[in-house]
């Protein structure tokens, strides 16, 4: 009797589980939402696309663009953003998202044109576009506007950081290649010390000094062959160090540019490219 009871329970549970329609639009959307909030964007997009076949949903269309954008697939994000209708409640957000994708795709001409349009519009996110445009200007080669006007769109807490970036962009702490070379010509190694390669500078000074001393003493003691070999080596290290100091200044300047660019990029990432915060996963 007990066995029959267990069998009935088991069978009914199996039967019951078959009743759920996993492919219904509601369930597809639930699953897609779960994947989206789990940052499994690629699979979430697949499920959302399936859902959109059955239901026209502005929110889901927008979430697809956010999913693409989160994966840095800017091309698809831009394509999908173009499909968002003017009547959609997410139309305004789609514009600033489009600007972000254009920035990440490095399409400068289109980015600045769209940014200007958005800034001059009555959009809710006009100021966000203004901030993104100005921050992007820090990474471009174009001349920056006056500091006062440059800082206008930024919030109070952002102004300090942006002001520092502005000053660094205007007056980067570069080292002069010519000065590095001249310094090393006067005192071997000093050019490298100037470019903060302290170890290399001291080594260059010691090597040049050592071979010059060896050449000098050998000439003095009438060993011309050895003396000329040491003199050649000393001259090699001397010229090599002048050359290396110029190269070292170039590398130092490349490091300054790299750190500046990384700093601005990190700031933008931290600010989520001035896009609004969405609470889709609450």
């Amino acid at each position: 009797m007990l066995k029959i009871f267990y069998l009935i329970i088991l069978l009914s549970s199996i039967m019951f589980s078959q009743q759920i329609d996993f492919q219904s639009p509601e369930n597809i959307k639930l699953f897609a939402d779960f994947l989206f909030c789990d940052n499994d964007y690629l699979r979430a997009i697949d499920e959302y696309e399936k859902y959109l076949v059955a239901v026209d949903d502005d929110l889901v269309q927008f979430k697809i663009t956010i999913a693409y954008s989160s994966m840095n697939d800017c091309e698809n994000a831009i394509n999908k953003l173009g499909l968002i209708k003017k009547t959609s409640p997410f139309y305004e957000q789609s514009k600033i998202e489009l600007l972000k994708s254009l920035y990440l795709q490095n399409i400068d001409s289109v980015f600045y044109a769209v940014a200007e349009t958005l800034i001059n519009s009555k959009s809710l996110y006009a100021n966000n576009a203004y901030r993104l445009k100005n921050t992007a200007l820090l990474l471009s080669k174009t001349e920056l506007p006056e500091k006062e006007s440059f800082l206008i769109p930024f919030e109070v807490e952002e102004k300090k950081t942006i002001s520092d970036f502005y000053n660094l962009k205007k007056n980067p702490p570069y080292k002069s290649e010519a000065l590095a070379g001249v310094l090393s010509a006067i005192i071997p190694g000093s050019g490298k010390i100037y470019t903060k390669d302290y170890g290399d500078g001291i080594t260059a000074f010691l090597l040049t000094g050592l071979f010059t001393y060896l050449a000098y003493t050998n000439f003095e003691h009438d060993h011309p062959t050895r003396a000329w070999i040491f003199a050649a080596l000393g001259a090699g290290f001397y010229v090599g160090n002048i050359y290396g100091s110029v190269a070292s200044a170039q590398i130092f300047n490349a490091k300054v540019n790299f750190e500046f660019n990384e700093g601005v990029k990190l700031f933008l990432e931290d600010k989520k490219y001035f896009t609004p915060n969405y609470d889709f996963c609450k």
């Binding site: 050359y243 190269a247 790299f258």
Partner: protein
């Protein structure tokens, strides 16, 4: 015939373990041990072809150094490319005079044993990455890589 369940279960278990262990042939096959360090970062291009006047002197000297000294002594240069490869590459990318001057500068960096870890990106486990492109004095060729970053070319 009455079969003892305990024995049957044990036999089945042992049999299954024995069968399963035999399926993974590749993993368990016999292999000869080698204690030789991998030197795949060393790309010796033993080449005596003459492409320029400088090759008449430089290439035989470098090839002889690699064959008689470097390959016998082992890969002791802390940099990638090694100092001798740096000389060959720098001459190839610039000219013989600039290449030799670049080599003297590289040799200075090689002699300095202080602060390397804070200065250079890493190449493999034991080498610092210091490519020729940083020193040709052509700023557009400088691809700055921060120190301590692992580089795989």
């Amino acid at each position: 015939m009455i079969i003892n369940k305990k024995y049957l279960l044990s036999i089945l278990f042992i049999y299954q373990v024995a069968i399963y262990s035999q399926t993974d042939w590749v993993r368990w096959e016999k292999s000869d041990l080698t204690y030789q360090l991998k030197n795949n970062y060393l790309e010796r291009e033993y080449d005596l072809s003459i492409e320029s006047v400088s090759d008449v002197i430089v290439k035989p000297v470098i090839n002889a150094y690699w064959f008689f000294v470097s390959d016998v002594d082992g890969a002791n240069c802390p940099f990638q490319p090694s100092c001798s490869s740096f000389l060959v590459q720098s001459i190839k990318e610039t000219n013989v005079f600039q290449g030799v001057v670049m080599f003297f500068d590289r040799f200075t960096r090689d002699t300095n044993i202080f602060g390397r870890h804070e200065h250079y990106p890493r190449y493999g486990k034991n080498h610092f990455y210091d490519p020729v492109s940083l020193y040709t004095l052509e700023e557009e060729n400088i691809n700055y890589i921060p120190a301590k970053t692992y580089v795989n070319e």
